[in-house]
């Protein structure tokens, strides 16, 4: 049996964090950590080496964009997939997210089904 895909979830809104965790599990993945700010997200990512990091853009300590940039800059975490979630849905917001190194960008509010699909798409073939 394949090892489960490991996912880190970071969102400062508890309700949304729980919703994202539910969607991740629905997609057949394991949530290795669910954290509420950018600094914790970075620490957990370095410690857990997840396959996918689901990041809210607007978070205390460090924004999702900053976390994403730092994950990409660190060889230990540069290879993980990053999915950004944000209330900002303008083309500029999306462009900024992708420029920070995210693999995908999902504007809020997202549908659970849409998030499940996105998580599955990003984790196809992982872990190797």
């Amino acid at each position: 049996m394949d090892a489960p895909v490991r996912v880190l979830v970071a969102d400062d809104e508890e309700d949304i964090r729980l919703l994202v965790c539910l969607a991740v599990r629905k997609a057949g993945c394991t949530v290795v950590a669910a954290v509420a700010d950018g600094a914790q997200a970075l620490r957990s990512a370095r410690a857990e080496q997840p396959d996918l990091v689901v990041l809210d853009v607007s978070m205390p300590e460090a924004t999702g964009l900053e976390v994403c940039t730092q994950l990409r800059a660190d060889p230990a975490t540069a290879g993980c997939r990053v999915l950004l979630l944000s209330a900002g849905a303008s083309p500029d917001d999306i462009a900024r997210g992708l420029a920070a190194g995210a693999d995908a960008y999902l504007p809020k509010p997202f549908t659970v089904a849409g998030l499940v699909d996105e998580v599955r798409r990003l984790t196809v073939g992982t872990p190797a």
Binding site: I16, G88, S90, P91, P109
Partner: protein, 482 residues
Amino acid sequence: MTALAEPETTSVRSPAAAPAVRPRGRAALSAVAAVAAVGLAVLVAGPGTPVRVVAAVAAALAVAELTRRLRTQLYAATELEAQRRDLMTLGQSTAEELEVATRMMRARAQTMTSVIDAVTEQSIIGTDPDGLIRVWNPGAERMLGLPRAEVVRIRTITDFHAPEELAPDALSPADDAARFAALVQVAREHGSDVRDWTYLTADGGRLTVSVAITPRTDDDGEQAGWNFVGTDMTEARAAERLKDQFVSLISHELRTPLSSILGYLELVMDDEEQPLTAEQRQYLATVERNAQRLLRLVGDLLFTAQVDAGRLTLQPEDVDLAGIVRAAEETARVTAATRGVSVRVEVPAGGLVVRGDALRLGQACDNLVSNAVKFTPADGQVTLRLRAGWRAADGTVLDSDAPGAARVALLSVSDTGVGIPTGEQGQLFTSFFRASTARRNAVPGVGLGLTITKAITTAHGGTLDVASAEGRGTTFTLTLPL
């Protein structure tokens, strides 16, 4: 020599003011005339004539000559007097004219000064061609905190501008000219320039000022300097920033709970292990519909704020409008069916492609269709029609080409609904405006849909027109350049 005295007398009788020959010159002239007269008398009287007779003849001749000369002089003197009088009159009238002109100029200058001095809310600063301040009104005194006496002919306009906005590298005093050139560059190239600058006040404050810069010319049309008319926008700009922050906050703070509501609703409604009863499903569908409505409202508010801030950006691509129209009909189908309104679609079989932002054009079309359905009572009809046509310069829609007409895509949405009173049609595209027929018929909405549709259309270089009759229906016609 008694006879010689006569010219003296004649001379005295000549007009007093005539430029008379000077007395010494006159005596010499008389002597020469006398000698000539004696010579002539000898010739006339003939040799051998007694001396007394010769003398008498000579005297007579001298008198005649003198009289002739004096007449000439008198004539010249009279002429001169006439000229003097003319000159005097001319001088007098010129002086009068000059005085009138001076008075008028003074009055005009006074009017200008009083007008400029009356402006206390705007700064009016005039400079010479090099930026040295020559005019400093009370508005400038108030805004920048320095009295006229301390500024005029002493300071340059660049002293009051944030240096980083004017050629940031020009820091030495020698570069004042470069800074001033940077300040007036656009006005020099385009004749005028209005934009925000940062003014530095005497007490070290910074103000955001909208400054209109225009060149000033003298009577000969030569550049005499520059005018800078400023309006303090510090508070207005701060309010705009606050509004932006508020909108961004609303965006986040409303979208986040809506994300939770919609997400958890979805989990409950799609839970296959614990299926809902029909009644529960109906209730939750109502919750979902209203959450979606709130979400659309937040989106509309955000979009309107973006348009107001001039931040509406389009992602242009080739868009088939027929597809957009069909999608709009699909979106409205359920609501229309529930209300008993039939929706008809007439689009060209081959489609109609325009250059535009598919998402925004879809939003515009959805707005028109959902409005039409919303405002049409049961058994009514909504027709979506798409075709190519022409638009004349005066805005008239034409079916065939005409001189000056532009080829356009015509998308019309007609309904048989409540209509819009003629007097209210002009306000339809204003944010938050709701027609009296909408309020009377309790049709839900906040009055942003048409504002948004109009903004999208305008951003595409198109137009949006309305034709409506109260109680009979409304047709919105959207044109987009082909």
